[in-house]
Amino acid sequence: MKKLTVVISESPGKDPRKRELEANILAALVGQPDVAVSVVPHLYDLNEDHAGALFLRSVNGPLLVLAWLYPRGIHWTLDRLGVKGRVGQTQLKRASDEDDKNDGGKDDKPRLGAANAPARTIWSLDFQDGDTAEAHVQEIIRVAAQVKAAVKLSAAEAVPVAISSPPIQNLKSKIGNPPARRWYPVIDYSRCANCMECVDFCLFGVYGVDDAGRILVESADNCRKGCPACSRVCPENAIVFPMHRTPALAGAPGTKPGDLKLDLSQLFGAPSALDLADKERDAELVKDGREAVGPPKRQPCCDLRPKDALDKLMDALDGERL
């Protein structure tokens, strides 16, 4: 019988309340017949050959990952590690979130989509979406029951016989040691339109293009710690910094194009997101001993009519919607 593999990704810090929630969920899941549970260090900090990443890649059946990241951050961090699948629908929500059904752009623009994603499903649960272990455990059991029912329905086909069952873990110890903290962008390919703005913008060589011409985060660790600049220039809001303190940059639900509460700050005289991005990048260049490059040719110098605050606002919105 196929089980749901549940992987708990630990919090990066030592916050005892977080550790307690993790431990309580783990304890409750260990006795469950339909789930196989394992623990890895903080997902975002894993690099491709960390034992935790190897383990995650070895799971080719249905997978549920619980981490201290927004679900969108979890899904695309996994994708980046080569752990791919369809987005599973979950029912836990932060109290403040409303409706986040739609996970792609609303228009007809072609999106890249995940490369080589198999038909299996990956559910991503954010620890912060429930205060109590019970809420998470219930949701996990709901998903496990769904998996079990689906397996029964399609018992004969669909499920390859040779599925490698995950190695049995000693529950007291997690897989691999906690790695060093990392900082890098993660691309949400369900939104990315492969426009290459990010490659042109980042002057630290973080982005690259694969053989098929798809944008990718090639040299993640070249990214400047704390810098989120390129996520502000991405017209599709496809660049996620899962650990950024601004929810919209960290992949919070409800922050897809057109779904944000309007930010009218520009209307009242704020620097635009693009100006902010240039400033952030310049600060990183200077820290690196290089020269600031300032705003690019984005607004051509021949455009003499001074842009007013509202124009800038509309540009920003334009960029977000189209």
């Binding site: 509460k261 309007l262 930010d263 009218l264 009242f268 005289g269 704020a270 007013d308 509202l310």
Partner: protein, 151 residues
């Protein structure tokens, strides 16, 4: 009408009294009898924000600010925005009534729903016709988007 100008935001009639001046960041400015310049949101800004339910100032009265310094934040059901100083000077006082009940900004934005008073040089502001021309110049672009963004 003589005393005011109208700018149509779609079907919405945004009215701008001609008895005061306007800053590019969509606030109106009027010099009070004591010499202080009183600021509030123009009908254009109020319409974009819609029902305001939260208003906060990040400084105390008496603070000296440069033009465009961030001075506070405003939130409505539809939008968030930081607020910026429309000119350089000293923030003399905030409108307690608007703090206590921000909905007054929508109800009486040109009167009791004013935001703050400053002392400083307001000569960088525009008169009502110039402000409306400024809105007209940017509206074509705004229109399509606002229809999608705001109901």
């Amino acid at each position: 009408m003589a005393g005011e100008l109208v700018f149509m935001m779609g079907n919405f009639r945004a009215v701008f009294p001609a008895d005061r001046r306007y800053a590019a960041n969509h606030t109106w400015a009027r010099t009070e009898s004591g010499g202080a310049v009183r600021f509030g949101l123009s009908a254009y800004a109020a319409r974009l924000l819609q029902e305001v339910y939260f208003l906060e100032w990040s400084m105390d009265a008496g603070a000296t600010v440069r033009e465009k310094d961030e001075i506070g934040a405003i939130e409505s059901a539809k939008a968030n925005a930081a607020l910026y100083a429309p000119m350089a000077g000293i923030i003399a006082r905030f409108n307690d009534a608007a703090m206590a009940d921000p909905s007054i900004i929508n109800k009486d934005g040109y009167g009791d729903g004013w935001l703050f008073e400053m002392s400083g040089d307001a000569s960088g502001t525009m008169d009502a016709p110039a402000y409306v021309a400024h809105l007209e110049a940017s509206w074509a672009k705004a229109q399509a988007l606002l229809k999608g963004q705001l109901r």
